[in-house]
Homo-oligomer: 150 residues x 2
């Protein structure tokens, strides 16, 4: 599990970059075996793009790097549970697995009740593992929203 | 309803552009009142990007044109029922309404059974109208996939 923690630490560093840029602090990494293929911080505000979640940017970067639109053999590490948009994109990109930090019961695509993981529309279902660097990931999000509330 | 048909016709023209570029033929238009803000054809193959659905490209273009990441007051016209990724993006972008052509019971985010429209994660729910230029939209998709199967 040492390697998962290493990749999650890189994702956390990107969440921190997002935090410092006044973006909701979420970071993501896509790796193929031992190698980091793409990293991203949430950039919705900077790019003025509601689809610019860390996972979406990482997927698009990884496809560009690998010059293919399928990320078979790749794994995504992200500090927050992916939303339905990102979970669908992960499925389209055929990522093998996702490791995420904090849960998002209100907006997540994985959590029970949102129903997407079991949905017919999700043709490729990645393996999903949660709770990695959960405390650090959640603390960063909490600090961000507390600061916003002033 | 004349205006809806006009916008759907533009979406159909873009689906035709996708068809001719050997892409799954789906086209989209975003309009604000009478004015077309953005148009897009599905470009997954050309861009090597599994997230480059017509709706996603149109949303990103419209945000760029309007210099805002919320598309309040705007409507999306698309030839095929949006998938869960696009439906979530439509929700994030706060589009007022969606009009779509062909249904996609296998992969759509709206159709009963996929469960996304009613999901907790979809905080903003656009108005959704289906079946506009359905025959033409579906015929183009059918021709594409028949040609693929040889």
């Amino acid at each position: 599990m040492g390697q998962v923690k290493d990749f999650m630490q890189i994702a956390l560093n990107h969440a921190q970059i997002a935090f410092e840029a006044d973006e909701v602090p979420v970071g993501a990494v896509i790796a193929k075996k031992d190698q980091v293929i793409a990293t991203a911080a949430n950039a919705m505000k900077r790019l003025g793009d509601p689809t610019a979640h860390a996972e979406m940017i990482a997927i698009r970067k990884a496809c560009e790097v690998l010059k293919q639109n399928r990320l078979i053999g790749c794994t995504l590490y992200v500090t927050l549970e992916p939303c339905p948009m990102c979970l669908s994109a992960i499925s389209f990109a055929r990522l093998d697995a996702i490791y995420y930090g904090a849960s998002d019961p209100k907006s997540g695509g994985v959590s029970a009740g949102n129903g997407l993981v079991g949905a017919r529309a999700l043709h490729h279902k990645p393996e999903i593992y949660e709770g990695f660097c959960e405390v650090e990931s959640a603390a960063l999000l909490k600090a961000f929203f507390e600061q916003k509330r002033g």
